[in-house]
């Protein structure tokens, strides 16, 4: 009841005028757009599945009501009729200060579609709470809402506040106790802005990479691996229009949140609100169904526990047993039930054994049947006598949909789920398929199909099952992880070694490496210069005009004259290589001709020694990469350039000096031109002697 009071104060503390305009609204998605609860969800929507004997949606609605929400729009898609019927017949349709409106859709395949539809209906007028119908919480929204509003006032781009909660994933399986995958979030500790979100962790990748600008903009960033996303979002109206603008957004997190984080043009921001003592969790898979059920029984979610919610005396808090029998169940003698969920009207005959299983309504276990850990028995399945249902089997009266989502379509698993559930909606009325031939699948007298598990999905089986993860899996995982780490550490070494080489080799300050962005610019600049040069050659443009054109290019690309020199030289050499030649000497002649013709153009961009050195470096690079034919001619060309007074001896000598300290691999060309440099040095000394 405490939370209800808090909810009341929430209303009071809000800006009175704002309250007058917008009652707090919420969108409840009564369709998870996933297939994790199949086969059960083929026959009944997930939100109506009993969670400690009460349909899940009741927890969510009760919390919304207590948190001060006045108007809820329940979006139904799969099994929409069942949801609507349920809500109409329930107490929620007749609450005084709490209106529940259903929005029905038959063709939505994702949360994105749902929000787009709601946007079209034009029913949301202010901030709203976005939640799915399988969320259990008892948090108070007051503070989070207030923070959200305050931020909005300061910054209109702060459009969403996500609720997160401390939850450290297991160090071995890398999943939380709710069975969800590990989540990496980067949050600014001061502003609480969300900067990075990665939930579908790629197991193969041992690294997380944070964008450079992200770190530059935030002096301190905390990267969390110990938080859990509660899937409770406080959103501003813009969120809906954003979904409409970006019609390809499907998934709330994978597309919407990541989309906003990556997009820096609009500048929309997402913030987080961390809760500490209150409860919030979403039932995403069978494991979280198990975990949350236990939490509810242990009353972590108070006041949202069955005895309070129902208000009837039918359900009482009993001792914390390992099983809870439901209405009209018949359980024979000598039955062992451990950690299992048995819904209504289940008949379990003598001598059955159940471990960590979910048994839906109307199931009959004939005597001596055994359910191994992780078994899911959907509605009205009959297990034959003495039959052992293998671990992690999913058994249903309905056949497995044939166009099951294959691996490569994981992204679109949503779509098959939606339609699949829809189709089963129709089937729902007349479940009387011909079962005679399949009887054998579940032993004598058994009824139902055992669904086959797809390859690659095995992993998911034990990760998300109700059963605890077996120890041998854990050990295997640990060993795997050790190997991975071994690899990673080695990887790291490789990286650092190569980096080391790099820093060594560009000791002479080729500035392109500094900055990748300018490199891209440079590449296109180089292309432009080359085109200009070729045009000049073919159309016999005057040198002065060519200089002007290159200068114009330089200005428009914001390049230094160093870059021009390099680029022009590059174009010249490329032309030489591309002109027809049969031997190295012909190539040399080509190059000589071109250099002679255009030396004035090149010279006009070589004002000082640094620029000349740049030309040599450029040439070296070409010899290694684009124009290997020159590699043999390196000293000759160098000499040519010296003769034509394009390069001064100082430049060549300084280049040689700088290269002296470089790696062996880097000195190839230095070695080749050793003679020439030697000659230069001697010439210089002679000159000096003469001077003195």
């Amino acid at each position: 009841m405490g939370a209800q009071k808090k909810g009341a104060t929430a209303r009071v503390s809000e800006d009175p005028e704002e309250l007058a305009r917008h009652p707090l609204q919420a969108i409840l998605l009564a369709d998870s757009f996933t297939t994790k609860f199949r086969p059960i969800t083929l026959e009944r929507p997930k939100v109506l599945l009993p969670l400690v004997n009460i349909p899940m949606i009741n927890y969510t609605l009760a919390w919304l009501e207590s948190a001060g929400v006045e108007e809820v729009f329940v979006f139904c898609c799969a099994h929409s009729k069942q949801v609507i019927d349920y809500l109409e017949s329930s107490e929620w349709s007749s609450q005084p200060n709490f209106s529940v409106t259903t929005i029905e859709s038959h063709n939505s395949i994702s949360a994105g579609d749902a929000l787009r539809l709601i946007y079209e209906r034009n029913v949301i007028h202010g901030d709203f709470v976005l939640i799915s119908g399988d969320t259990v919480s008892n948090m108070s929204l007051t503070q989070a809402l207030q923070e959200h509003k305050d931020r909005r006032k300061k910054d209109a781009n702060a459009i969403m506040t996500m609720v997160v909660k401390q939850s450290k994933p297991s160090p071995i399986t890398q999943q939380s106790r709710l069975g969800t995958d590990e989540l990496f979030m980067a949050i600014n500790p001061v502003t609480k802005q969300l900067l990075y979100y990665e939930d579908k962790a790629e197991y193969s990748k041992g690294f997380i990479s944070l964008d450079k600008t992200l770190i530059a903009d935030n002096p301190s960033v905390i990267l969390h691996n110990d938080k859990q996303d509660c899937y409770i979002d406080i959103c501003s109206q813009e969120v809906l229009s954003l979904f409409t603008d970006n019609f390809d957004y499907q998934h709330l997190r994978r597309h919407f949140v990541k989309g906003l984080l990556v997009d820096d043009i609009m500048g929309y921001k997402i913030f987080t609100h961390e809760i500490h003592s209150s409860y919030a969790a979403r039932i995403d898979n069978f494991r979280s169904y198990d975990t949350i059920s236990k939490d509810i029984i242990q009353r972590w979610t108070y006041p949202f526990v069955p005895d309070v919610l129902c208000g009837s005396s039918a359900i009482k808090v009993e001792r914390q047993g390992t099983y809870r029998a439901s209405e009209r169940c018949t359980i024979g003698s000598n039955v062992t039930i451990e950690g299992s969920y048995i819904w209504n009207n289940v008949t379990i005959e003598d001598g059955c054994q159940l471990r960590n299983a979910i048994v839906c309504d109307g199931v009959i276990l004939k005597s001596g049947a055994v359910l191994q850990p992780g078994v899911i028995l959907s509605f009205k399945v009959v297990v034959g006598q003495q039959f052992v249902v293998p671990a992690y089997s999913k058994v249903s009266l309905l056949q497995q949909p044939t166009q099951q989502d294959s691996d490569e379509e994981l992204e679109y698993a949503d779509s098959t789920s939606g339609t699949g559930e829809l189709r089963s909606d129709k089937l729902n009325g007349d479940i009387a398929p011909d079962l005679s031939e399949t009887a054998s699948e579940l032993g004598t007298g058994g009824v139902g199909y055992i669904w086959t598990v797809f390859e690659g999905a095995y992993d998911e089986e034990w990760r998300h099952s109700v059963a605890p993860i077996p120890t041998d899996k854990l050990v295997k995982l640990m060993l795997d992880k050790d190997e991975d780490e071994e690899l990673l550490t080695q990887d790291g070494n490789v990286i650092s070694a190569s980096r080391e080489l790099k820093t060594d080799s560009d000791g002479n300050g080729s500035e392109d490496d500094d900055n990748e962005d300018s490199r891209d610019d440079y590449v296109s600049f180089e292309k432009e210069v080359e085109a200009t040069f070729l045009r000049a050659v073919h159309e016999n443009v005057k040198v002065d005009l060519a200089v002007l054109e290159v200068n114009a290019l330089r200005l428009s690309y914001n390049m230094a004259s160093v870059d021009c020199g390099g680029a022009i030289f590059y174009s010249m050499m490329k032309l030489a290589v591309e002109s027809p030649h049969n031997s190295a000497s012909e190539l040399h002649r080509n190059a000589a001709d071109i250099v002679t013709t255009w030396q004035k153009l090149l010279k006009s961009f070589l004002h000082d020694i640094d620029e000349e050195i740049e030309v040599i470096l450029k040439f070296e690079e070409m010899c290694l990469e684009s124009a290997k034919e020159f590699a043999a001619l390196f000293p000759q060309i160098l000499h040519l350039l010296y003769d034509k007074e394009i390069l001064q001896e100082d430049a060549i000598l300084r280049w040689a000096d700088e290269k002296e300290g470089a790696d062996e691999s880097d000195k190839v060309f230095l070695k080749r031109s050793e003679k020439f440099i030697q000659w230069l040095r001697e010439a210089e000394e002679e000159e000096d002697d003469e001077d003195e």
Partner: protein
């Protein structure tokens, strides 16, 4: 304390030309009339760390530095000078002097550090955690963006504001990630994150180049990884990266150290799993990782990499660019004057009539100034002769400089034995040692130096 200190005073940093030369190696470059090396040695002396090895690049520089140290710190410090070849990097330098290292822990300090961070405090932190490496971090000074990346002044001086990216655990004790901004994006190891849960990534901290190492580990790494050249870029990142996985390289030596001939017992996975599951909230992630079946001996080797974060009020700048040189000179005479133990104005400089010396100035002994001079926020070395009507603002003038009448010097550095003839106007210039500036010349933003043969 069983601590040996290695002062890396190498690097004839190119970025400091023309201030440094053959005659004035970088460690002897005067900052507020004291060689820059003085600040480090003084700080070490204060912390009672007196067993030092000063590593200098090149024999000549070694002699010069040795002569100065024995003259200045005679009897106060036990210093050995080790000259190593040039350009072998910081790790290379340590490798070269490895046989001198005998103490349990080694403190490595960069010789160009001007700081009031106590080396003793760093050493204590290192010991307290029994860490393999402890790095000193300090807040980036607001005034100057003088931090440049690499050690030994190898490169990158052209990039201002190159900060380190540092990952810390929630209690800010352990170093989880360290990188200079070389790659485009920062890559973080996930398994480390799994172990700690959350990591704070800071980009406003600067690596002060003061590291404490466990000697055995340092030597082991230097031996095995012979490609490692730089402490900052190779050795420290390597140690940080492998902190949860250290048996790969360090088991042998640790084994020998901890217990004579104990065999490595392979972890009993089954039990370990349950231990880890049961201890979901152990205090330190290192302990969690190193947990064993019976909890006694270590089976999974981890080592600790610690961070010592200096308080934001402390002063810490490295002299690795001309800008940094100017900043340090200004700060040492101004806001950070506690770095110097002796008085700021030397004994009896001779000042002419109507000559004013503003605050934050320093005049060396034996310097003379003519009439109507103005000195503001500047350092003037020993035995300088300054004529009349001279204006010196925001500048550093080293020893034995002669300045003619009517000179105006702003934001410039004048090295020793320079002669400025009459009416020279210098703005943002650097004048190398022994240079003569002709009368009436004006320079702006230039670097003047004699041609060295």
């Amino acid at each position: 304390m069983d601590f040996q200190v290695v002062v890396l005073a190498g690097g004839n940093s190119k970025s400091l030309t023309p201030l440094v030369s053959k005659d004035v190696p970088k460690p002897l470059l005067p900052v507020a009339n004291h060689p820059v090396l003085y600040y480090v040695l003084h700080q070490l002396e204060e912390s009672n760390l007196k067993d030092l090895i000063v590593v200098v690049e090149g024999e000549d520089a070694g002699l010069l530095v040795g002569a100065w140290i024995s003259g200045t710190f005679v009897d106060r410090l036990h210093v050995e000078i080790a000259a190593v070849p040039e350009d072998i990097g910081t790790a290379g330098a340590l490798r070269a002097i490895s046989h001198y290292l005998t103490a349990k822990d080694i403190l490595v300090v960069s010789g160009d550090l001007v700081s009031d961070v106590s080396p003793g405090a760093v050493a204590a932190t290192h010991r307290r955690h029994d860490a393999v490496v402890t790095a000193t971090l300090c807040c980036v000074p607001i005034s100057g963006s003088s931090e440049s990346g690499s050690s030994g002044g190898k490169d990158k001086t052209k990039k201002p504001g190159r900060y380190n990216i540092i990952g810390l655990d929630p209690r800010k004790q352990f170093l989880l990630h360290i990188a200079t901004e070389i790659e485009k994006d920062t890559r973080l190891q996930k398994h480390l994150l799994h172990a700690v849960g959350q990591m704070e990534i800071r980009s406003d901290l600067m690596d002060a180049h003061m590291y404490a190492f466990k000697r055995s580990v340092l030597q082991e790494v230097l031996d095995r990884k012979d490609t490692f050249q730089s402490l900052k870029q190779d050795v420290v990142p390597y140690l940080v990266r492998s902190q949860l996985k250290s048996e790969a390289v360090l088991s042998g030596i640790r084994q020998a150290e901890e217990d004579g001939n104990e065999k490595v017992s392979f972890p009993n996975n089954q039990v370990m799993v349950s231990q880890i599951l049961a201890n979901a909230s152990t205090p330190s992630f290192h302990e969690l990782y190193s947990m064993d079946a019976d909890g006694s001996a270590q089976t999974r080797k981890t080592h600790k990499c610690c961070a010592y974060i200096a308080s934001s009020s402390s002063y810490c700048v490295r002299l690795n660019s001309i800008q940094a040189f100017m900043d340090i000179n200004r700060d040492v005479t101004g806001e950070a004057d506690h770095l110097l133990s002796d008085n700021v104005i030397g004994p009896s400089p001779k000042l002419g009539t109507k000559t004013t010396v503003g605050p934050h100035c320093m005049l060396g002994e034996g310097s003379e100034m003519g009439d109507k001079c103005q000195v503001k926020r500047s350092v003037i070395g020993r035995h300088c002769r300054i004529g009349s009507h001279v204006k010196v603002v925001n500048s550093v003038v080293m020893n034995h400089v002669t300045i003619g009448d009517g000179c105006i010097i702003q934001g410039s550095v004048i090295c020793s034995n320079v002669q400025l003839l009459e009416r020279v106007v210098l703005k943002d210039c650097q004048v190398g040692a022994g240079f003569v500036v002709t009368a009436g010349s004006e320079y702006k933003g230039e670097s003047l130096a004699r041609k060295e043969k």
